[in-house]
């Protein structure tokens, strides 16, 4: 031991991974000190400031360029693979991640040109029988958590909660958003007070039901078409009617489909009945429930409608792209309100219904079939957490004033990168 201690030559060499990790921690620590204060948890509007919270591992993750990494990952996986390699490669992938190749629609694996295409595979007709319950699973995956919303907080995993307002977005009164050009605003369909109050009613209903007194502001009551737009300083971009851009369905087909959805929702397919449905405030005796479903890499990555409902609007929150694996979900607070997501808000037979697909590092792109205007995981610095762009689907259905969906109807999916 003495010889070894005294005679072994000391040889110095770099340890880049450890140094890199330390550097990221220091950068993140300095950034946190510069931009935040532990005493300040709300902004000047009284809304919670969304921060990166968690152990050192999540701060290291937070310092990484996750959005760029996600896009590079998407690009790599969009590269066309040699035809001879595809069956072998996809079978190895299926074996590694537990995909059932018997249930996919296209059985010829050479037809999938890239891993990205294989990842977004369709299933055979009838591969997923639909239960007659009022609520069915929108996706293949694992239930991370479920329960009731308590005090306008949603539990991410046991013991870690996040704000419902931050997840779905808050309508705020104030100055009209400067980013909406007047000409564009004039050409857009009117979001009337009826609908607007209804959407705000969701937030107030939370107070009424749970009595927690959230800081949600009051509803603007102007009746003019232009000023009836939600005046939200946190909103960015322009509000559009995505259904106008998207709508190319045959009118007869549309009416038949909408009538089916209306019947599924337990209402007569008449305009008055549909309007009364939208006008209904939250009924006494109701509660807000939530459930979180995690899609693992091997799972079928398209999502379907979990019930008969009408999507009135979507809010696109550009954000980070942390992994949403159970490991990270248990450690990173506010995970689902930091990540890029699309909040689809609407109504079902019992009142408010919201569905929020949340992106992740490997699957940063979210597609909505009836919204071709939506672009997710785009290049550029994300705006501050909590800001969103909004589109309404009021022109998609002449009866229900939104995009009607039947149970298990395909809605969209997650793509690699």
């Amino acid at each position: 031991v003495i010889n070894a201690w005294t005679q072994t030559p000391t040889k110095w060499y770099p340890i880049p991974i450890a140094v890199g990790a330390m550097l990221l921690v220091v950068i993140q620590y300095r950034r946190k000190r510069k931009f935040s204060s532990p005493q300040v948890d709300v902004d000047h509007d009284g809304v919670e400031v969304i921060k990166l919270k968690g152990p050192w591992q999540v701060h290291v993750l937070g310092a990484l360029p996750l959005r760029n990494m996600s896009r590079v990952w998407g690009y790599i996986n969009s590269l066309e693979l040699p035809a001879w390699f595809r069956p072998f490669g996809f079978r190895v992938y299926a074996l590694a991640f537990g995909c059932n190749l018997d249930e996919i629609e296209e059985q010829d694996l050479t037809a999938y040109r890239s891993l990205g295409e294989f990842f977004y595979r369709k299933l055979k007709e009838g591969a997923r029988p639909v239960d007659d319950a009022v609520l069915v699973s929108p996706a293949d995956g694992t239930v991370l958590h479920f329960g009731t919303v308590q005090g306008s907080r949603v539990e991410q995993v046991k013991g870690i909660t996040y704000s419902l307002d931050a997840l779905l977005g808050v309508e705020r009164p104030g100055t009209p958003p400067a980013s909406i050009a007047p000409s564009h605003r004039d050409s857009m369909p009117v979001v009337d007070d009826h609908e607007f109050a209804n959407v705000n009613g969701i937030e107030y209903s939370l107070d009424q039901l749970i009595g927690t007194g959230t800081s949600t502001p009051s509803t603007p009551t102007s009746t003019s078409p232009t000023s009836s737009f939600p005046n939200n300083p946190r909103k960015f971009g322009s509000q559009i009617d995505a259904s106008v851009i998207e709508s190319s369905r045959n009118i007869q087909e549309t009416l038949a489909h909408d009538a089916s959805v209306a019947l599924e929702m337990g209402v007569k397919p008449t305009l008055e009945r549909a309007q009364s449905l939208y006008g209904a405030s939250v009924k006494p005796g109701n509660s807000l429930f939530f459930t979180v479903i995690y899609l693992a890499p091997g799972d079928y990555h398209r999502f379907h409608s979990p019930t008969a409902w009408v999507v009135e609007k979507r809010r696109h929150f550009v954000g980070e792209l942390f992994s949403v694996s159970p490991y990270i979900a248990k450690r990173l607070e506010n995970l689902f309100i930091l990540n890029e997501r699309v909040a689809l808000l609407g109504k079902w037979r019992y009142g408010f219904f919201g569905m929020v697909p949340v992106g992740a590092t490997n699957v940063g792109s979210i597609k909505i079939n009836f919204d071709q205007a939506l672009r997710t995981n785009e290049r550029g610095r994300p705006p501050p957490p909590g800001t969103y762009s909004e589109a309404v689907y009021s022109a998609a259905s002449p009866i229900l004033n939104g995009q009607p969906l039947l149970p298990a109807q395909e809605m969209g999916g997650f793509c690699l990168g």
Partner: protein
């Protein structure tokens, strides 16, 4: 990727799932 559902329902709404349970599209997750 993850999907979060938030919805209003009667207080007697009952989930028919468990934490960490695997689910498939169309499978019952709750009913009134």
């Amino acid at each position: 990727s993850t999907i979060v559902l938030v919805f209003e329902a009667p207080q007697d709404f009952k989930f028919s799932i468990k934490a960490d349970q695997k689910v498939k599209v169309g499978q019952r997750i709750g009913d009134v």
